[in-house]
Symmetry: C2
Subunit: 258 residues, 2 copies
């Protein structure tokens, strides 16, 4: 069985102007191990090529299904989101995302009828500026500044891995270890219910003391959204809030038991 | 400049019984791009070898400094923590960690005089049971169950990447994009101070109602440790706790202002 929910199938890996066919094969293997399938090759120097098949090591179905086009514009014409991978931070106008943030952005945008693309440039020279201009944002792998030359397939592996982890997390599936959440992740509605009660509690315990509540609430939302709460954890936190509200009522505050 | 704080330097990458010298070179390149340096080779089939140098592509200093030993026990004899990477989930007695959790565990344990090891097995057969028994836990890359054969260097790249991200996050450095934490991450002492106050607050608002407090506190610690709080966020959360404690005192509870 394939445990990769649909979104990953809508993520297209685009390799631009690859010079070594072996790297195309290694990239095919890398994306296949992470549950991705769609490979688009923009003007590869040598493809098809036996080195590609050799390095694909069983992922040759990805190679066989690969699309070959003449330029990046063709490759991403129908895409809802296009991210360009840059091995090092560059002076570009594009917003720069970490691989983790980039994977999340791609899954947010991907869907049936809304393919998204993750673009990788040439082994030596990366993406040209006119190609970066076709991208909505750049993804930067935080490599060692003293030695940032990731192999093309290695960069594909890192991004494909982040896409896999993000996909599994969204499906509530473990991301490798027994440390994965057992419980179902909290739903949007459950989180909003928690945030409503959190807001009421801050009022009840007079946390704001006349200040506008928005800023503190926004920061608290960011914290709790970041840690990916499961249902049981939301119940636990709401239990704590309920007792704080109860104390506020006993103290003559204006607690809210909603 | 090398932006990798010290812990990474105490992380040892151990390759056991590697058959293809090219994979040793690719692994050297992978760890160097992620700011790691220490490579230990356990009974490599062919090393030194020109293929290793060719695939290292400039990371040959890592190869030159690599240690060669006869068995895994020698390689990890002085290590404070040893994690074994397994490409697929296995029926083993070991705790299984995701790559992310494994990286965090290694950095927690690593330090001057306390090297830690991340162990990778043979290309085809992985680690033997007597080798896994030398590991304190296993790290499992959540590969596609339909096709889980990561290349050895690709597996090294994924784990080295997670170690790099964890190291940068702990140093409060951006992890590639403009989305990294700006604020300094909270220190261990700051987090413990927060957890102490959280415990006092649960007492004050009578959250436990006669139940033993350990279980709830452990679950709450897990939530807040998971989301990687920065200093400002800890101050914000402690401010909320302080007002809850104040309400408890007004309510005639036994609030604690420590």
């Amino acid at each position: 069985m394939n445990t990769v929910p649909q979104p990953a199938a809508d993520v297209r890996i685009v390799l631009v102007g690859t010079s070594h066919p072996g790297n195309i094969g290694s990239a095919a293997r890398a994306i296949r191990t992470m549950g991705l399938e769609r490979l688009v090759l923009v003007a590869p120097e040598r493809f098809p090529h036996p080195d590609a098949v050799a390095m694909a090591a069983g992922a040759d179905d990805v190679l066989a299904a690969a699309t070959i086009v003449g330029n990046l514009a063709e490759a991403v014409a129908d895409c809802a989101l296009v991210l360009g991978c840059t091995a090092r931070s560059r002076r570009i106008q594009l917003e720069e995302l970490s691989p983790r943030a980039g994977a999340a952005r791609l899954l947010d945008a991907a869907g049936p009828g809304a393919p998204v693309a993750l673009v990788f440039g040439r082994e030596r020279t990366g993406l040209e500026n006119h190609e970066l201009q076709l991208c909505h944002a750049a993804v930067h792998i935080p490599a060692n500044p003293d030695y940032s030359s990731l192999n093309l397939a290695a960069a594909v592996q890192v991004l494909a891995y982040e896409l896999r982890v993000a996909t599994l997390e969204r499906a509530g599936l473990p991301t490798g270890g027994s440390d994965g959440h057992r419980e179902a992740p909290a739903s949007h509605a459950q989180l909003e219910g928690f945030f409503d009660q959190l807001g009421d509690t801050l009022e009840a315990i007079d946390f704001h003391k006349g200040r506008a509540p928005e800023s503190a609430l926004r920061k608290l939302r960011r914290i709790f959204l970041r840690c990916g709460l499961d249902e049981r954890e939301v119940r636990l936190l709401r239990g704590v809030l309920a007792d704080a509200q109860r104390m506020a009522r006993l103290a003559g505050g204006h607690g809210d038991t909603r």
